[in-house]
Amino acid sequence: MVSPLYIIAVGLGAAFLLGLLPEKWQRAAYGVTLLALALMGWIAGSWLWAFALQGAAPVEIFTAGTQPPFAINFRVGLAEASLALLMALTGLHAALYMRDTLFKQGRRAMAVLLIFVMATCGVIFTRDLFNLFVFMELVVISTGGLVLLSADRRALGAGLKYLIVSQLVSILMLVGMVFAYHATGTLNIDGMAAAQADLFKGGALAFFLMLMAVLAELKPFPANGWGLDIYESAHPAFAALFSAATGAATVYAADKLLLIGGAQWLPLASAIGIVTFVVANIFALVQDNDRRLLGYSSIAQVGLILTVIGQRDLLGEQYYFVAGGILLAHAVAKAGLFWLSGLVAARGLGDWAALRGHPVLVFAFVTFIALLVGLPPFPGFYAKWELAHALAANGQLWLLGLILFGALLEAAYLFRWFGYVLKREQPQAGLLLQAIKEDVALSAVVVAWLLAYLWGELSGQGNLLHAIPLLFALLFLPLDWLPAKLKNGLAIAGLVGWFYLHYPSYDALQLIFAAVMLPGGAIILLASFQTQQRRVGFYPAAMLMFAGLAMLIEAKTSFAFFAAWELLTVGSYFLILRGKHSEPHALSYIVFSLGGAFLMLAGFALAAQGVPDFKIAALAQVAEPFAPWVFALLAIGFMTKTAAVGVHIWLPGAHAEAETDVSPLVSGILLKAGLFGLFVLLMTMGKQQLYGVELTHVMLWIGAISALIGNLLAIFQEDAKRLLAYSSIGQMGYALFGLAMMNHLGWLMALMFVINHYIYKSMLFLSVGGVAKRTGTRDMYRMGGLITLMPLSFIATLIGIIAVSGVPPLSGFGGRWIFYNAIMTAEYRLPMVIIFLAGPIAFLYLFRLIHTIFLGQLKDELRTVKEAPFWIVLPQMIFVVALLVFALIPGMALRHVDAYLAPFFGGQNGLDWAGLTITSEFGYWSPVSIMLIIGVIFATLFAWLLFVNRRAQPVKQFNIVFAGERPFRPETTHFAWNFFAPYRKALGFLTQPLVTIFWETLTELLHSAADILRRMYTGNGQTYAIHLLAFVIIVYLLWMGGL
């Protein structure tokens, strides 16, 4: 094994060697550079191997052959080796990436690069303060040089500002060091830590100055303008280095320095870190320059790591797992993104749409974003999970809240950017493709997935990359070149197969949800056979969602549950984003969903109280004072998914703008995930009180108001799919209401809604989607009279609306009947008023839907419209049959669940399913008799009419007279637009978009604040110096004043 010291030696030696080479030997010089970097990487890698897999002990290296404090010592352990490997690899990649630039600038530039990498490694290895200072100065100087490699003219100014600030930092460091040395008599870090008591007797200020110096290098808010300028103007390969390598090395230096300070200084690190994290993310919201945005994001991430360092004592053994996870995720993702930015010609975020023509690059971009945001299965996900649990278990709730808030902001601007990539106009010649640069960027993707696997293995939670559903979804990535029909077949087979293999192990509740989600999804996917060609990106996204759903149903632990939740959220986001105009709606979906997910994370963390491997069933044992908070957090998280009023504004756009076969997936199936969560929550935690308020009572009101508002807004929509989307809000409101009643029949009703809503909403979305496909519009008033042209779609819609409305004999009535029986034993009666009002309003939008599209007057331009394509009609017909069957024998599905629910209510208030009649404590209902009686009456009367009216003569359109004339223009005759005008006069005031206004104002406030405050970064070096001084003074006043 080669001594780690050679990492330093090789870097330094090669740099000197470059100086000796003749100027013309460009290739040789470049070769030496690459070789040196590779060698450094190899040494670091071999030590990493030894530490990680062979359990080698950390190596101490002493210079000059004596012990510290008389000599300098290096220490290399697991953390140091992995960081050094990171340094060498990013350096190597930078060299490869910058080949043209390095050739142009010659061997000097290469030498500076080597010095840079060597110095960062030195910062990581050294245990001596002064030596640390020296290496940091080397980093600064080489940074100054490397910044100048950029073609951007502003780089010169940025480099100079950096040097100004660095001098201030150096002064702080040196002054601090002098006094610290005076107080402790050593410059060795461990020696100083041992002499901590002496140091703080009078030298607290000295330590403070040193800490400030190192922290200032981490670009804390507000002393970070210089860093931003570098990120913006430097060569992307150097920006990658600056973000990944400098950041990581300095963070490690801060970690070492805090060893000296001990526990009492940790809160300061956390405070500075969290402020930086949140503020940088807020500022990033308004950035439209890609590299500056990445700069803000880098600053934020480093702030987060600093926060974690501050919580080192709390995290205990998990410290390196958490900090390392976040750090490596940040480094790899940021390097990858900077490298990608070198491939994009222009600097606007929208210019990244150029990536779209290259699925592999888009995949790389997604990987980096997921890595940064900390989505499963990447390291940040595991790290955030552990961090949240540690914080919650130790009462650091404010910190947890701020971290989650900052993370949400970060996710918002990153996903917004992703939306641009997929949806904005693709610029001509927007890419500067170069094979080596692409390879460098893609290598980061490989590393990202390796890290994902590694962190999965290291976490105590079970590796997500071993989960078969997820692997199945990922399988579709390499298969994406196959024709869509083949992939569709495979996807359907996967869903049905998984269900077939697992259904014996499900209990009744799981079975209902699984049946809706998996074979149910397969039926909807039949419609996808309609699409031609390859449909790139659809199947990985769809299957990711299904993987999440499959894993959610089976989740036993809170971790598995949460991971599944995030997977299905992300998958469905990609699905929704596919719609032609869905960019803003998909963004709003992902932001609300992640917000909800973070609340769930907080809830689970609070519930676990540090218990690893927290079981979902153990939610039942969560005690006061946490229980109500856990309940509230989880409930809000789940209600975000079911689009309860207040957090519903994402739904209409997301569901309406999605593709024809995606709308039923996200409406018919995805919403049920929220209901499943609520079921699980209520079954385990039951009723909870917060400040004397019964939380289920609050949910009851939320459910009722959602039902009302959803229905009310639906009737005023001109867009058929939006109408259906709002109707979903209403329907989910009913289901929520049923659950919140906390009685047996209420839950049964909610389950009835799960099945019913899946069938009829999927059917309606498909039939409306088919119509929209044929007519080229979703505006209902542009349609009309399509009944004769699209009879099958009409039948599906007819059956669908009868079922939704709850009119006997179809299955919707069963839901209403159970509802009335459930409210008989409900504790609260007032919310019923709202629900009763909401009920009949459904008739309004349902009638409008079928009338305006299929009845009334046919438009001239639609006279040649054909029936919807076969594959879109087929699932509708399956749903029609399913509805009829479920209407006749609801007991087939429900009686088992009924029995399953009984123990939760002491076996009380169940239904009696004997024979054909379903009997409750209060009433009875016989689906088969109802169907039969109605059928016979209807058939008899129909026969009678046929008899007396057998010569009725069919007439053509316009064979009517009104207002004294015979109409001839369908546009003026089809009464369709603003259909319920009188209703708007009466109750229109209830449709004021208060919730939308609230969220828009909040977003606007954040953006405006960011836009105003970011102006303090004037670009002036003096201002930046003042920022730094102000930072030091303010921290001094706040921290030392209170110490």
Binding site: I802, V807, M824, P840, F843, H851, G923, N949, A952, V955
Partner: protein, 296 residues
């Protein structure tokens, strides 16, 4: 065995309905100092319309509309027991309870609306929007009243609700739960297509509203329903609030009196616009319903 008895019920109720609606119309005419129609006018209209040979159809749904409508009326009548304590006239109430009756009311309405809409006549569509809009508000107090009554008697079975009201006039819901009955009767006004809530049919502006295109035997079928349906609906009210009927004479009397409530109000008040009637229900009727639900 139930079927012949059900048919008998149907026969009685249709004839009673034809005569009673004519009678009420005659009373209305007399209030306006006109002579009014002969009492058998409805028979003449119906027979004439069923016998008309010319007829046109606008399509399948148009054709089925009246079938839906009349099925709705017949079904509603037969799902509710007509005469309390009579096995013969309990009809098909074994198939479902009160909730079935409540929701089946919409079957005919919805079907007819669909049929009328296929005619492509704007008046039909306008009438339907008015009708549906008004219904959302008018149904609310009734739903609350039903909830109150069901809570009061702790059952959803119509027969049991009637049974609970036996033993004297003072046992009727009218006296045991007057708030619920008041709310329900206000709702009743809104569902009877009489002034002030007849904007749906509005003979002057949108000649007879939704059924405007229906004629000949289509119309005859709807006229049959027009005689049958109000009676069927009143039977529900009678059973829930007015002690039900133990015999046919009692049935005839109670139905007539309940029907007259809407006739009385109708001849006195002018027509509301849709938004006016919605406000009226929400302001006057709904609070009564809420009180009934809370106090029961």
């Amino acid at each position: 065995m139930r079927i012949p008895w059900a048919l008998l019920t149907l026969f009685i109720v249709i004839n009673y309905g034809l005569l009673m609606t004519a009678l009420v119309q005659k009373i209305g005419a007399r209030v306006g100092r006109r002579h009014g129609i002969p009492i058998w006018q409805n028979y003449i209209d119906m027979i004439k319309n069923y016998a008309l040979r010319t007829s046109i159809t606008h399509g399948v749904m148009f054709y089925l509309g009246p079938v839906f409508r009349l099925s709705g009326g017949v079904g509603l009548l037969l799902f509710v027991p007509s005469i309390y304590g009579s096995e013969m006239f309990a009809n098909f109430s074994f198939a479902g309870d009160l909730i079935l009756a409540l929701y089946f009311v919409f079957f005919g309405t919805l079907g007819m609306a669909l049929g009328a809409a296929e005619s492509g006549h704007p008046y039909s569509a306008i009438g339907i929007t008015r009708g549906l809009s008004q219904m959302t508000a008018a149904e609310l107090p009734f739903a609350l009243a039903v909830f109150a009554v069901a809570l009061q008697y702790q059952t959803l079975s119509v027969t049991e609700i009637v049974a609970a009201q036996q033993g004297g006039v003072l046992h009727w819901t009218l006296f045991t739960n007057p708030l619920a009955v008041a709310a329900a009767m206000m709702s009743f006004l809104g569902s009877m297509m009489r002034p002030p809530f007849d904007v749906v049919l509005a003979p002057q502006e949108i000649p007879i509203g939704p059924p405007t295109e229906y004629h000949s035997s289509f119309l005859a079928m709807m006229q049959t329903n027009r005689a049958l349906f109000p009676v069927a609906k009143i039977v529900v009210y009678m059973n829930l609030f007015f002690g039900g009927a133990g015999s046919w004479p009692e049935f005839f009397l109670k139905v007539f009196l309940i029907y007259m409530v809407s006739a009385f109000v109708g001849v006195v008040f002018p027509r509301f616009r849709v938004e006016q009637s919605i406000r009226w229900f929400l302001i006057w009727a709904v609070p009564l319903g809420i009180l009934a639900v809370v106090l029961v």
